[in-house]
């Protein structure tokens, strides 16, 4: 990769100080002349390898509300980072393979379907809309997200739903350690198992796990599953198109003992 090329593949994680050879040379914004957008019967197709990330994101971010260009596919994602980040209109984007970090980051209103796996921070800070990952997700899926629905059909790694602020997350498989750490609002539904320290320092998010929980984090406790929780869970499973008996889940939430500091609780940390 030459110094004049700005695209950074996921393999370029080199901890070197070659600032002059940074992949962050200012991109060429002359994409409009060279994009290889094709149109199939149902969707417009963009290609990461030929169009480049900047051109694709700019195109998708700028679809005006009311446009009939509402269905897009992204070919050859090849683990590219920040794909479909910053979308802000109710379009549907299908990524035809594996995406890198921060796929659909800060999404608003859009539907993003990933036909593959995703790396760290899928749908991070999502505000609204719908993101569905057909495969597995790496760390921090749905981190700090304020709204919308994130569905991961496979497993999610550590810190799934960390600092979530209102998003609903449904995971078909299992989640790793420290999931829902400092989770503030929203719901995390796990059809499989949860790793260590689930819900550590939890605020008001609601957690539902069908399988085993390896351990609960500080101030996270099992709570009674009341009718309103079963109703919420039923709705979330239906929205996520997941088949599971809501009665087979257990609910976890905050004991609220650490909300105001007390020296008698210092050992909990």
């Amino acid at each position: 990769m030459g110094s004049g090329e700005w695209r950074m593949g996921k393999a370029s994680h080199l901890m070197v100080f070659h600032a002059l050879h940074s992949p962050f040379a200012t991109p060429d914004f002359g994409f409009a002349m060279t994009m290889t957008m094709t149109k199939t019967a149902n969707a417009l197709t963009l290609d990461v390898q030929t169009d480049g990330l900047r051109a694709i994101n700019q195109r998708l971010q700028n679809v005006p509300k009311g446009s009939n260009e509402t269905h897009w596919t992204i070919a050859n994602p090849a683990g590219e980072h920040a794909l479909a980040a910053g979308l802000q209109s109710p379009i549907r984007v299908e990524i035809m393979g594996t995406a890198g970090y921060y796929c659909a980051g800060m999404n608003k209103e859009a539907t993003v379907i990933v036909h593959g796996n995703v790396s760290t921070g899928v749908a991070e800070n999502m505000m609204s809309g719908y993101v569905r990952v057909k495969g597995n997700a790496s760390q921090s899926a749905g981190a700090t997200a304020h709204g919308g629905l994130l569905v991961i059909e496979g497993d999610a790694a550590a810190r799934c739903g960390i600092s979530m602020k209102g998003v609903d997350i449904v995971v078909g498989g299992s989640v790793g350690h420290m999931s829902a750490f400092m989770a503030q609002a929203g719901a995390l539904v796990v059809l499989g198992d949860a790793g260590d320290a689930l819900g550590d320092s939890l605020y008001e998010a609601k957690l539902f796990v069908r399988g085993t929980v390896k351990s609960l984090g500080a101030d996270c406790i099992e709570k009674e599953m009341r009718p309103e929780h079963l109703e919420l869970l039923t709705q979330l499973l239906a929205k996520a198109e997941m088949t599971a008996d809501p009665h087979s889940f257990r609910r976890y939430g905050s004991a609220r003992k650490l909300y105001n500091f007390s020296i008698d609780n210092a050992d909990a940390y």
């Binding site: 950074m8 994680h13 080199l14 901890m15 070197v16 100080f17 070659h18 600032a19 002059l20 940074s22 992949p23 962050f24 040379a25 200012t26 991109p27 990330l53 900047r54 994101n57 700019q58 971010q61 980072h81 920040a82 980040a85 910053g86 802000q88 890198g100 970090y101 921060y102 980051g105 800060m106 608003k108 760290t120 921070g121 991070e124 800070n125 505000m127 760390q139 921090s140 981190a143 700090t144 304020h146 810190r159 960390i162 600092s163 602020k165 209102g166 750490f181 400092m182 503030q184 609002a185 605020y203 008001e204 909300y259 105001n260 500091f261 020296i263």
Partner: protein, 446 residues
């Protein structure tokens, strides 16, 4: 022999320990009574090597001064031209540091925006999101991207003029934000998606990146969301300024902000403030060295904060290689913080004007570090903004006075060669010679 005739034996004078002084003894008693560490606001209060330990040489036969009232001395600074298509342009090399709505009242945030705008410079949000008042009254607003991500959203990100990824701050490198329950009002709670009245302790690490390689990808995401327009700063506390600066540059930052241990905070543990981090004076040369080693000095801009109080401090920071400075505590004082006019109220709180630092309690008599509507009303944002603008003007004039005396037509032309140090410690930290010698401890004798 009677008692009257007994020779008087001299007694030892009562002597207090230098190690166990009054403040130390009081703290031991306080800790024993409460079982909890002390929390307070502001930065390090201990005596530290600082800008006062440096002097400018001024012009003489070998250096020509500029006329103080006739010849131009430029103060404009451009930040973020490395990658951002819309770099920001400041009229003065002094910015307002990030302070949150929550830690400060809405009136205080508005006043900061008004003052900065009048002076032609930027102000910065904090750990609580962007308020409409702040955006509306700040011509140039830097939006902080913090571990908590309270209130973070793409609309505000796009409304900002620059983005500051906060890794740490000088008062507590390695610590997260803190806002105690007294200050979590309905509005603050709603902005942070938290229950009202809880003690809010922000995360100290970002939730979705770890280390410089992840940060590089994160910065790229932020650029993608904001169309590569906004300058992206990375702010670090004064922990390891050489490596933190180098890694910020490697990660793609346009601007690096280094905050020394005199930099303030709204609230944290006293032990953290006084015992973690390096003095601002020691941080600057390390950060500048990293930029020079990468051939990025003046290409990636360096903003320095932590204990900037007057135009001499500004000039000295610039002479050591900073592109701009940032002020927080001094800006609050300019608004009216710790003003003796509220002395009676300070006394009721068991303190005195000039020493009040329990900003976390929300009972600020000056109406600045509070969410109490009655106290907040005490601050007139228009008048307070004017005071801040006046103060910024004085800092600039003082800095220009020194720069002209050193023969510089731009404040960025100040250089280490213009400086000497008064103490061995300051000479070593600032990497300028001890006055009257050619000795830079640790450098000239290598």
């Amino acid at each position: 022999m009677t008692a009257k005739d007994t020779p008087k034996i001299p007694r030892t004078v009562p002597r207090k320990s230098a190690t166990f002084d009054d403040a130390t003894l009081a703290e031991i008693r306080r800790a024993a009574a409460t079982g909890i560490y002390d929390i307070r606001g502001a930065g390090a209060k201990r005596k530290l090597p600082h800008f006062d330990d440096l002097l400018f040489l001024g012009a003489s036969i070998s250096r020509y001064p500029l006329e103080g009232y006739r010849e131009k001395c430029v103060t404009e600074v451009v930040l973020g031209a490395r990658h951002a298509t819309k770099p920001i342009r400041l009229k003065i090399p002094i910015t307002i540091a990030g302070m949150s709505f929550g830690s400060l009242s809405a009136q205080a945030k508005e006043a900061l925006g008004r003052g900065a705008t009048l002076a032609g410079t930027s102000t910065t949000t904090g750990d609580g999101g962007m308020t409409a008042e702040e955006r509306g009254h700040s011509q140039i607003l830097v939006y902080q991207y913090l571990p908590s991500r309270y209130g973070m959203n793409p609309d505000d990100l796009r409304k900002a003029d620059a983005i500051e990824v906060v890794v740490g701050q000088g008062a507590k490198p390695g610590g997260g934000g803190m806002l105690l329950g007294q200050k979590i009002s309905d509005r603050v709670a709603a902005m942070r998606t938290l229950p009202k009245g809880i003690d809010q302790r922000s995360a100290c690490r970002h939730p979705d990146w770890t280390g410089p390689d992840d940060l590089e990808i994160k910065i790229r995401e932020l650029r993608e969301i904001t169309n590569w327009e906004k300058p992206i700063y990375v702010k670090v506390g004064g922990a390891r300024p050489y490596y933190d600066t180098a890694l910020s540059v490697k990660s793609g930052a346009d601007v690096v902000v280094v905050d020394g241990m005199q930099g303030g905070t709204a609230a944290t543990q006293e032990v953290f403030i006084e015992h973690v981090g390096q003095p601002t004076l020691a941080c600057i040369p390390q950060a500048v060295q990293a930029l020079k080693d990468l051939n990025m000095h003046r290409k990636v801009q360096l903003i320095v904060s932590g204990g900037i109080r007057n135009g001499a401090d500004v000039a000295k920071a610039l002479a050591l290689g900073a592109d701009a400075v940032s002020i927080g505590t001094a800006a609050l004082v300019a608004l009216g913080d710790n003003d003796p006019m509220w002395e009676e109220d300070y006394k009721k709180l068991g303190t005195t004007a000039g020493a009040y630092d329990d900003w976390h309690e929300g009972r600020d008599p000056a109406g600045i570090t509070t969410q109490d509507p009655e106290l907040a009303k005490r601050l007139d944002p228009v008048k307070a903004g004017r005071r801040l603008a006046n103060f910024l003007k004085v800092l600039t004039l003082e800095c220009q006075t020194i720069a002209r005396a050193c023969g510089k037509s731009h404040v960025h032309n100040l250089e280490p060669e213009d400086l000497v140090a008064l103490t061995v410690e300051a000479a070593a930290m600032a990497r300028v010679p001890l006055a009257g010698t050619n000795w830079i401890p640790g450098w000239s004798d290598r």
